[in-house]
């Protein structure tokens, strides 16, 4: 039995009978944001913007405050450039459209690929998977199971082979097969390991031997329960592979994934997908409005 103890009810109490937003209100706002992993710096920025708005617009009531908050927070989240904006149904900007999936260990890269494959295929697209994680125990087997589950072909080599070679094979094969979309899985790597980050740059260069403007999307997968370290992840992966979009996973738990506000604020990378479970149906196209609302739903059990 879940009870939703909405953050706004707390703010409502704090604001009752007051003609302005005071410390108490701002404190509870700070608590809500920080507890959602938004981080101090971004929280302070948001609060300053709210303060400025309130000072300008003078007296506000609770529902107006709610509106202002939502607007200010949504404003920090960026949209993908129109040239690279797509959903599963629409035509993809390029054919074959190459998506390279990267991230630190265990965040949900392989699972997200399975879910994306399912969604693209359902929308009638020819999908091809590339098993370029040749390192982690049973990584290729895991992706193979996803390829069977979704009925999508896979390009793979033996464990321990060169991931760049697998990526090269996959993209070449996609060109000759006429695939619409290619999803390349990579091994999890911590962003502070230079040689592993260099390997990603190499995968990228090798793909470009086949298709010069590929990969068209570099999807950085972030675990929604990660705290402030996600900022470093975004920074280092962007430096190594020019990340173009984010996917946030495991938002079916109680973690809020608020660190993406900080990432959006600093790196201007759009969030495109969110993961809400382990099944292939458990992927949603990111919706700013819903995401911001969920930041304030303090779910308790």
């Amino acid at each position: 039995q879940k009870t939703k103890d909405n953050f706004f009810s707390k703010v409502t109490k704090a604001i009752a009978g007051k003609s302005t937003v005071d410390e108490e209100v701002l404190d509870s706002l700070e608590e809500a944001l920080v507890s959602a992993d938004v981080g101090i710096e971004t929280t302070v920025k948001i609060i300053e913007r709210v303060e400025a708005r309130v000072a300008r617009d003078k007296y506000i009531n609770t529902s107006e405050l709610n509106g202002i908050l939502q607007e200010e927070i949504e404003a920090t989240l960026v949209d993908a450039p129109t040239a690279n904006n797509y959903d599963f149904q629409s035509d993809l900007p390029k054919k074959p459209y190459i998506i390279l999936v990267v991230g630190v260990n265990g965040v949900g890269k392989t699972t997200t690929i399975g879910k994306l494959a399912y969604n693209f295929k359902k929308a009638g697209k020819e999908v091809l998977l590339g098993a370029a994680d040749t390192f982690r125990a049973a990584a290729v087997d895991q992706l193979t199971i996803w390829s069977e589950r979704t009925g999508v072909p896979i390009v793979k080599q033996a464990m321990g082979s060169d991931p760049a070679a697998v990526a090269f094979d996959t993209v070449s094969s996609a060109v000759s097969r006429g695939s619409d979309v290619v999803l390349i899985d990579t091994a999890g790597r911590l962003h502070n390991k230079i040689h592993l980050m260099d390997e990603l740059s190499k995968i990228r260069r090798v793909i470009q031997k086949v298709i010069p403007d590929a990969p068209h999307e570099v999807l950085l997968v972030l675990d929604g329960s990660t705290g402030q370290n996600a900022l470093e992840q975004a920074k280092q992966f962007t430096a190594a592979t020019e990340v173009t979009a984010l996917a946030i996973t495991k938002l079916d738990g109680t973690a809020k994934g608020g660190v993406v506000l900080a990432i959006a604020n600093q790196f201007k990378i759009p969030v495109k997908f969110i993961g809400v479970g382990e099944k292939m149906e458990d992927l949603l196209v990111f919706d700013k409005h819903e995401f911001v609302e969920s930041l304030f739903n303090l779910e308790r059990r």
Partner: protein, 306 residues
Amino acid sequence: MFESLSDRLDSAFKNLKGEGKITDLNVAATVKEIRRALVDADVNYKIAKEFTDTVREKATGEKVITAISPSQLMVKIVKDELVSLMGGEATELNAKGAPAVILIAGLQGSGKTTFSGKLANYLKKQKKLSPLLVAADVYRPAAMEQLRVLGEQIGVDVHLELENKNPVEIAQNAIREARAKNKNVVIIDTAGRLAVDEAMMTEVANIKSAVNPTEILFVVDSMTGQDAVNTAKAFNDRLDFSGVVLTKLDGDTRGGAALSIKYTVEKPIKFVSSGEKLDTLDVFYPERMAQRILGMGDITTLVEKA
């Protein structure tokens, strides 16, 4: 963005020079800085607040001597407090039994399977025990295969039942196998699960009651943010686990979740996992963790590694 805490405190303390006592007045700004530094290190917001309240009490009235700056004194108070919170007595893993049963649980992707392999390797090599790994994750694609490969790498047997979808049965059968084969420690790798997933939490509680574990280890990713407290509490409520394992410490996270968890459930952190290779397992040093959270540079570890 992570300035060190001492830098932050230097600016907060710029008004307090030389001798004098730390008073409520000059400590207020500092306490706020400390709180923010802790929250930036992913210490839970409420815990950071309680923690800094304690620090404020301890600091007030302390004499500032000229040899040490007020900010250094504050850092010392904070660090000592952190170490004492995270420390307590070192509690060794209990691997005694016929066989000892160690149950591994935690969120998805936290590093349970890898840790299971590391622990088996450690018990085999360091403690000269004969472990049996048990693949009780019946959900994740290729989870059993993953454990099988790890077992092969370290030369440890793995109990596998590829067609069995019942982890409770698998665990029970494994213990029987261990007895038959004279294995003295059984390590049960379970599926990742969310604390809010009622059915899955019941499942792991059922495994617990079926096998009566010697140790239950809660495996948590050291990069976890504010939610660490909720998760640790929920797992502890259901399993009453005996220890915590912090993983992925080879990254550059501050690891404030460690403090939050310790504070919330009061269970010892027994191991830290810092790498993908199976020999990267360490016991836990409170002092190093405190320094890491504070961003004071883990000099001891660096020196040892050199």
